[in-house]
Symmetry: C2
Subunit: 507 residues, 2 copies
C-alpha cells in the first residue's frame, strides 16, 4: 500500500515536472541538457567504476574469467601471427577465433557443453552437408541449386522445430543451432567452392583447436565449476531459510524480560530477514547450473555423475519452504502487542519450533557444505516435531473464555504456518539424506564404519544400499544387535520411517 | 512424505534389479540390450512423434516459426545461387547465412534485439578494428603482432567483464559478444589480409542483408510479438489465481446442503487448483519478454514505448499472491470434517472473500485482455474488504466456550491467509489501475468521457494526469459538483485512497 502511494505520488511529481518543462520551451530545454552533459558523464563514469568494483568484489572469479577469455583469444591468434601455423591453416584460422569467443563461458560445464555441442554438430552437419552437396550434383546444373535450397529449407525448419522440445532446448540447443549453421554453410558455399572436403577439413580442425583451447584454459586456469556452484547455492539457500526462522522467532515471540533490548536488536536484523527472498526465484539458476554440471568431469569432492538432479529436488523443497516463509513474513509487521496473553502461552513451543527448524536447516546446510552425513540434523527435526506436539497440548489446555478471537487469529495463523514449515524442513531433511546416500557423503562418526558392533553405521549403509541383504539369498545379512540401546530405537524408527519396503524385508 | 517413500522404494528396486543383472554376466546383458533395440527405437520414435504433435498443438506458431527460419535461409542462399548477386558479394555471402541462423528468434522483439545489437556491434567494432590495425602498423613488422595481441587481449577482457553488469547482460549481451568477435576478426585477420577496408565493407553489407531479411520475415510473416505474449501471460496468470480462489472457496467451505454433490464435483476441479503453480516461477519468462518487448515497434493495440515495466510490477504482485495461495493450498488436504461448527460460522464471510477476490481478479484479467478501464473490479475489491469486516464481526461474536482450539487453528489460519490474499488482490488492482492510466486503456463507460455532469469520469482522468489542474495556474480545474450523490463518496474515497497528494491539492 505504502509503495503504491509513493509510486502514484512520483507519477504525479513527474507530471508536474513535465508541465513546468513544457512551459520553458525547447531551446531552454536543450541548453539545460547541454549544461548538464559534463555532470551526466561524470555520474555515468562514477557509477560505472562503482558497479565494476562491486562486481569484482562480489565475485573475483569474474575478473579471472575476463582475463581467461583474453588469454584464450591471444593463444588462438597465434594461428595468424606465427608464420608456420598460418601457412598450415590460412584464413581458416578465423574459425578458431570465432569458436573461442562463442564457446568460452563462465563455468567449465557451460564451456564443455558448448564446445562438445559445437564439435559434434559441426562434424555431423559437415558430413551431411557434403552428402547433400553430392546428391544435388546428380540433378544437373539447373537442378542443383533447387535441390540444395529445398534440402536447406527442410533441414533448417525441422531443426528449428526440435529446439522447442524442452529436453533438447535445455541441453543441446547450441548444438542444433550449429548443426543448421554448418549444414547450410557447407551445402550452400559448396555450390561455389570447388574443394569442399578440404574446406570442411580445415574448418573442422580450426574449430577443434579453438574449442580445445577454451576447454583447456577453462579447466586449467582457476576453473569455475558449475557443479560446485550448484552445491554451494543449494547449501546457502537452506542457510538463508534457517537465518530467517532464527530471526523470526526472536522478532515475533520476544522474551518478556528483555523486551526493550530485543526490539533494538531486531532493527538490525531486518536486513537478515530479507535474505530468504532470493530463494523464491532460484529455480532457473539451479536448473541451468545442474544442466552444466552434468557435462563436467570429476573435480574436487565431486565425481563424474554426481547426483546433481537430487540438488534440484532439494531446491524445489527449499522453495516450497520459502513460500511458506513469505506467508509468515506477512504477519511480522502486524501489531506485536496484540493478544500478548495468548502469544505468551504458545511462545515456548512456537519458539522451539522456530529454533529447532532453524538448527535443523543449519545442520543440513553444513552437512551439504562439508559433505558429511546429515544425521546431526535428525535430532533437531525430531525436536521440532516434539514442539508441534507440545503446541497441540498447549492449545488444548488454553482457556478461551475471556479471549479475543479476533486478536488470536493472526497468531494462530503463525502457529499453523510454522507447523507447515516444520513439515517442509522434515522433507528437506529426507531429500538431503537421500543425497548423502547417492553421493556417499562421509559418515560423521568416523570410528563406526565397518565394525559389526556398531549397528548404527551398518543400518545406515543398509539403507543406502551398499549392502544388499536377504535378496542375494546368502545368510550374512545384518542382524540387529541390541546391546547399544541408546542408538537402536532411534535408528529403527528412522529406518521404518524412510523405507518401509526394506524394513519389511528385514523383519 | 509419500513421494519420499516411493522414491526410496524405487531406489531400492533399482538396486535389486542391478543385483540380478550383475549375476547374469556381461554377455547376456549385451544380448538383452541388442534384443531390446528395435523396441527402444520404436519407443523413441513414438515418443518423438507424440512430443512433436503436442508442441505443435500447444502453440501452432512454433511450426510457423520453423518454416520462417527455412524461408529466410533460402532467401539469403540466393546470394550464392544467383550469379549476379554472387559476383557482387562472393564468399562474403556466408556471413548473411550465418547471421540469419544466429539472429532469427521466436519473437519479433528478440530478433530485433539481436539484429540491432549485431549491426551496431559490427559497425563500431569494425571501425575500431581498422583503427587498431593502422595503429599497430606504426610499430613496424616486429611490433605489429605484439601490439595487436595486446589490444585484442585488453579489449576482450574488458568486454567480457562488462557482460557481468546486469543491465548490459539483460539487453546488450549479444552485442558485446559480437563486438569482441568482430574486433578480434578484423584486427587479427587484418594482419594477413591486405584490403581490410574492402573486407569489412563486404562483411558489413552481407550481415546487414542477413539481419534485414530476418527482421522483415519476422515482422511480415505471422509475427510473434513479445509484448503481446507478455500482455497475455500477465492476464492469464491473474486468471489462474482467480480460478484457484474460486475453486478453493467451494472446496474448503462446502455448502452444508449439497455436500455430496460438491465432493463429487471437486474431484474434477483438483486439476484446476494446480494452475496457480506456474505463476510461482514466471519471473524469468516475464522479464525476458519485457526486455524483448521494448525493442518492438508499435503493433496492434500496443504503441511503441508501451509501459512494459508496469507488467513486471503486476507480475511481482501476482507472484506474491501466488505464494500466499501456495500456503493456503497446504491446508486444503487437511481434515475437512474438523470443527465443522466453527467452520460454518465463518463460512459466509470467508466464502465471500474468496469469491469477491476471485471476481476482482477475473475482472482485472479481463480489463487487461480487453485493455479497458479496470473500474469494474473496484466494486469486488470493496466487497472483499467488506467481507473482511464481516469476518471480524463474526469472530468477535463467536463464543469459544466449548470450542476445540486445536481444530480451530488451521481454519483460523485459512481465514488469516485469505485476508492477506485480499490485500494482495487490492495491490494488484492498484497496479493494474496504474497500468490502465499509463497505457491509456479505454474507459468502459463510453458516454461519460467529457461531460461536466459526470464527476466520476473527470476525477478518474484527473488522477490519470491527462488534465493538470491547479498547477497550471489557470482556473478551469475540475469542480466537484455534488448533484450525483450516488457516485461521489465512492469516488472521493477512491481518490483519497489512491493519490493523497493530488487530493490535497484539490482541497
Amino acid at each position: 500500500m505504502q509503495s503504491s502511494f509513493s509510486s502514484t505520488n512520483s507519477i504525479i511529481a513527474m507530471e508536474i515536472e513535465s508541465t513546468t518543462q513544457e512551459k520553458a520551451g525547447p531551446l531552454a530545454l536543450a541548453w539545460d541538457w547541454v549544461k548538464s552533459l559534463p555532470l551526466n558523464f561524470k555520474n555515468i563514469a562514477v557509477n560505472l567504476v562503482r558497479t565494476t568494483k562491486k562486481l569484482g568484489q562480489d565475485d573475483p572469479r569474474r575478473i579471472m574469467h575476463s582475463l581467461k577469455v583474453g588469454l584464450s583469444l591471444t593463444l588462438v591468434s597465434l594461428l595468424y601471427y606465427w608464420r608456420p601455423l598460418y601457412n598450415g591453416f590460412g584464413v581458416s584460422g578465423m574459425w578458431a577465433v570465432l569458436t573461442v569467443i562463442v564457446v568460452f563461458e563462465f563455468t567449465v560445464g557451460a564451456t564443455l557443453s558448448k564446445g562438445l555441442n559445437r564439435a559434434c554438430a559441426t562434424l555431423s552437419a559437415g558430413a551431411l552437408g557434403c552428402g547433400a552437396h553430392h546428391l544435388a550434383r546428380l540433378f544437373g546444373e539447373k537442378g542443383e541449386p533447387i535441390v540444395l535450397g529445398l534440402l536447406v529449407f527442410l533441414l533448417a525448419a525441422a531443426s528449428s522445430f526440435t529446439r522447442f522440445i524442452p529436453r533438447i532446448k535445455a541441453r543441446y540447443d547450441y548444438g542444433v543451432l550449429i548443426f543448421i549453421l554448418t549444414f547450410s554453410l557447407v551445402s550452400v558455399t559448396g555450390y561455389r567452392v570447388g574443394k569442399i572436403l578440404e574446406l570442411a577439413n580445415e574448418r573442422l580442425t580450426t574449430i577443434g583447436i579453438g574449442g580445445a583451447t577454451c576447454i583447456i584454459v577453462s579447466i586449467c586456469v582457476c576453473p569455475v565449476w558449475a557443479g560446485e556452484d550448484l552445491h554451494k547455492l543449494v547449501a546457502s539457500n537452506i542457510e538463508k531459510l534457517a537465518s530467517y526462522l532464527e530471526g523470526f522467532g526472536g522478532e515475533y515471540f520476544p522474551d518478556p524480560e528483555d523486551h526493550e533490548g530485543n526490539v533494538m536488536a531486531s532493527k538490525g536484523d531486518k536486513a537478515l530477514l530479507q535474505g530468504y527472498k532470493s530463494v523464491l526465484n532460484s529455480k532457473n539458476t539451479e536448473e541451468s547450473l545442474a544442466n552444466f554440471a552434468r557435462w563436467e568431469p570429476g573435480h574436487g569432492r565431486f565425481h563424474f555423475r554426481h547426483p546433481w538432479k537430487q540438488y534440484l529436488k532439494i531446491g524445489v523443497l527449499a522453495r516450497q519452504c520459502a513460500y511458506r516463509i513469505d506467508a509468515l513474513n506477512g504477519n511480522i509487521n502486524s501489531d506485536l502487542q496484540a493478544a500478548m496473553e495468548f502469544r505468551n502461552k504458545i511462545r515456548k513451543p512456537s519458539k522451539k519450533m522456530c529454533s529447532e527448524a532453524s538448527k535443523a536447516l543449519k545442520a543440513l546446510a553444513l552437512s551439504i557444505k562439508t559433505m558429511t552425513d546429515p544425521s546431526a540434523a535428525k535430532s533437531h527435526v525430531e525436536n521440532s516435531k516434539t514442539a508441534i506436539d507440545e503446541l497441540k497440548l498447549v492449545l488444548k489446555a488454553v482457556s478461551l473464555e475471556n479471549a479475543d478471537l479476533l486478536a488470536i487469529v493472526p497468531i494462530a495463523s503463525v502457529a499453523s504456518i510454522l507447523t507447515e514449515i516444520t513439515k517442509c524442513v522434515e522433507n528437506i531433511y529426507e531429500s538431503v539424506h537421500e543425497l548423502s546416500c547417492l553421493a556417499e557423503f562421509k559418515s560423521t562418526s568416523v570410528e563406526s564404519t565397518v565394525s559389526p558392533e556398531k549397528p548404527q553405521a551398518q543400518l545406515l549403509v543398509l539403507h543406502c544400499g551398499s549392502i544388499k541383504p536377504v535378496l542375494d539369498g546368502d545368510n550374512d545379512h545384518v542382524i540387529i544387535t541390541v546391546h547399544e540401546t541408546r542408538n537402536i530405537p532411534y535408528k529403527l524408527n528412522f529406518l521404518s520411517h524412510q523405507s518401509p519396503g526394506n524394513h519389511d524385508l528385514e523383519v
